[in-house]
């Protein structure tokens, strides 16, 4: 039982943004945000200003992931302070503009919450992406969402790895929330994936409304999958891929991968096995966009995080 004095206090989440089209060919977010820009009644909540926003309109127009550089890696301090205006890559200019509107990143003026909507070709189902294990507000939100959609599942991926963590568009906000739903091919809109994303956002906004009304959320535990390392495809001396994700691993996101399990299959039929020291939980298995980022999948380990009770300040 928690008392008021032991709840962590957070400011009301007054300003909330929903980003779609950070990758222009991830269609659920593009479609939802376009829908809500036209008619935002579904996303309105008492005392919350929710802004739907297409982050990369040029990429959306061309139905491509990005035009010059990946927007979802572009929010580095260097980029955000770079000079050069029109000479900068399109996405760097966009990052600066987004930082002006929704940030500045790291400042008290920054938006309270940003939901960034993504799709993946991997069989990840609904995944919430967390950037800090200490963000109790986000952890409580994720706990709320998971309970609300039960028995449907929504897993939490924690990317706090100092080297593998990246500067996302949502990182401009005080509480960044990534929403990744798959499998869906790039450029395709699948009805079930679209609806799943829509439902998760509904619950997320409900949580924010309840929080702003003064509801106290008691301490909770949240199971997360913590990113450990990135595993690339085996390549030859020229950098060409020489094996594919093994059929046993393909589509096996979140299933345990044990040392000795099949991992890759060469083009002439030879199996390469996972050589790690212990069981890991792979995810982002065979994501189309990651071929160029040298990533066949990432490894994670299961952890239980504790979130303190929270209440609005």
């Amino acid at each position: 039982m928690s008392s008021y004095s032991s709840s962590a206090r957070f400011d009301e989440a007054r300003r909330v943004a929903i980003f779609g089209g950070t990758h222009g060919n991830e269609m659920s977010g593009v479609t939802l945000v376009n829908l809500w820009v036209k008619n935002g009644s579904e996303i309105q909540r008492k005392m919350v200003d929710t802004k739907p926003f297409i982050t990369n309109p040029r990429a959306v127009e061309k139905c491509t992931r990005y035009v010059d550089t990946d927007l979802n890696r572009a929010f580095t301090p260097e980029n955000l302070s770079a000079l050069g205006e029109g000479d900068l890559p399109y996405e760097v200019q966009r990052a600066q503009e987004i930082n002006r509107i929704f940030g500045p990143k790291g400042s008290p003026e920054a938006y309270d919450v940003i939901f960034d909507l993504h799709n993946t070709t991997s069989n990840m189902g609904c995944t919430l992406i967390l950037e800090s294990s200490k963000d109790y507000f986000n952890l409580q939100m994720m706990n709320y969402i998971k309970k609300a959609i039960d028995p449907a599942s929504c897993l939490v991926l924690l990317n706090e790895h100092p080297l593998l963590k990246y500067s996302t568009s949502r990182s401009v906000a005080k509480h960044p929330v990534g929403l990744e739903v798959g499998p869906q091919p790039q450029g395709v809109l699948r009805s079930n994936i679209f609806e799943a994303m829509r439902v998760i956002l509904k619950h997320a906004l409900d949580f924010i409304e309840l929080f702003n009304e003064g509801v106290e959320f008691p301490t909770c535990t949240v199971e997360v999958f913590r990113v450990l390392e990135r595993i690339d495809y085996p390549r030859d001396a020229n950098g060409n891929i020489i094996a594919m994700v093994h059929p046993n691993l393909q589509d096996g996101d979140w299933e345990p991968l044990n040392p000795g399990d099949p991992m890759f299959l060469t083009f002439d039929g030879k199996t390469l096995h996972y050589q790690g020291s212990g069981t890991i939980y792979p995810t982002f298995i065979n994501e189309a966009a990651y071929y160029e980022k040298q990533q066949a999948f990432v490894t994670t380990r299961r952890e239980t995080l504790v979130a303190s009770a929270i209440r609005k300040a």
Partner: protein, 331 residues
């Protein structure tokens, strides 16, 4: 085509009385050269990697068959995009192949004419005997063998593959355009067809899809060798999906934007008979649109590349095609 008489009856599955004609064996010239193309769409990765492996292993001749491997659209492959200026696989009509090349000619039109010179010319005696083009689709279509006109050779290859491949369903799709209007790269060969395997997202290489494509290519080469060495392939029947009708997405009348997604009950149900009243679209605001008209077979349901033309799927009829036995014509 041999002098021996061959008779066949093309029939639909609508329950009309069937009369079977006895078909004489047809003798056809040997097939000595086989061209295999990949990367016609640069982000359909299976064909790209199959070619890479064949080229790595210097596959040039298998028994009596000379094999040419061709990366159709190298620029699109490098960029991992469907095309750079325009869809290469729509550039092979007679008109486009004979259009003059200027400085402003799109890359793919030039490339089509290059490929025509290399593998064709389309419709001529110099054209490659058999051309196979490898594709992927985001639709749940299994392995499809797509061809323009139903010639015996291709139908026999279909029959052979259907009897051997068990990893996924194998189906025959017939386009049936006049040769001058045939627009795909496989129309360059004297005989031509495409392998289309899905579902696979564009830009992704799945091992199961790769293995099936490899098996299909290997079996085709095996068939060619057996044919050339004198084996008679027994006649029979092949079901083919024909007479394509295009269905577009519902759109906003002012902005032309798509306003609905493929309905969950149609999604992934390619080749499942669509009856009047079955749901086809679910609008973004939650309304269901239903199929009206004849019961037909949907194909290419929710193919990514078709959004550009706002095409949701095609509807086809199922036909049973009867084949004679065939063997190679002996000198």
């Amino acid at each position: 085509m041999s002098v021996l008489i061959s008779l066949y009856l093309e029939q639909s599955n609508s329950g009309t009385n069937r009369t079977t004609y006895v078909m004489e064996c047809v003798s056809l010239p040997p097939l000595s050269n086989f061209a295999i193309c990949g990367g016609t769409h640069g982000n359909e990765l299976t064909g790209v990697y199959i070619l890479r492996e064949m080229q790595k292993h210097n596959v040039e001749k298998v028994g009596s068959v000379s094999i040419t491997t061709v990366l159709s659209n190298p620029r699109a492959v490098d960029a991992c995009r469907r095309y750079t200026d325009r869809d290469l696989n729509r550039c092979f009509t007679d008109d486009l192949l004979s259009s003059p090349i200027t400085e402003s000619t799109p890359y793919e039109l030039r490339r089509a004419q290059e490929l025509n010179a290399h593998l064709g010319p389309k419709g001529s005696e110099e054209a490659v005997d058999l051309l196979c083009d490898m594709h992927n689709t985001t639709s749940n279509m299994g392995l499809c063998i797509i061809f323009n006109s139903a010639d015996w050779l291709i139908l026999h290859i279909c029959k052979y593959l259907q009897s051997k491949i068990t990893s996924m369903p194998v189906r025959a799709l017939q386009m049936d355009l006049p040769l001058s209007e045939a627009f795909s790269v496989d129309s360059l060969g004297k005989h031509g067809f495409s392998f289309e395997i899905g579902p696979q997202p564009h830009g992704v290489l799945r091992a199961d899809v790769f293995n099936t494509m490899k098996e299909a290519v290997d079996l085709t080469i095996e068939w060619l060798q057996q044919f050339n060495s004198g084996r008679t392939f027994e006649g029979g029947e092949v079901e083919a999906y024909t007479r394509w009708k295009t269905v577009h997405y519902p759109r906003d009348p002012t902005t032309d934007e798509i306003t609905a997604a493929i309905h969950p009950q149609l999604q992934d149900n390619d080749f499942k008979l669509l009856q009047p009243g079955d749901p086809i679209f679910l609008s973004l605001s939650g309304e269901t649109v239903k199929h009206e008209g004849d019961a037909l077979y949907p194909v290419f349901v929710n193919e990514c590349a078709y959004y550009e033309q706002k095409i949701a799927y095609h509807l086809t009829q199922k036909s049973t095609l009867t084949l004679p036995s065939i063997n190679v014509k002996k000198d």
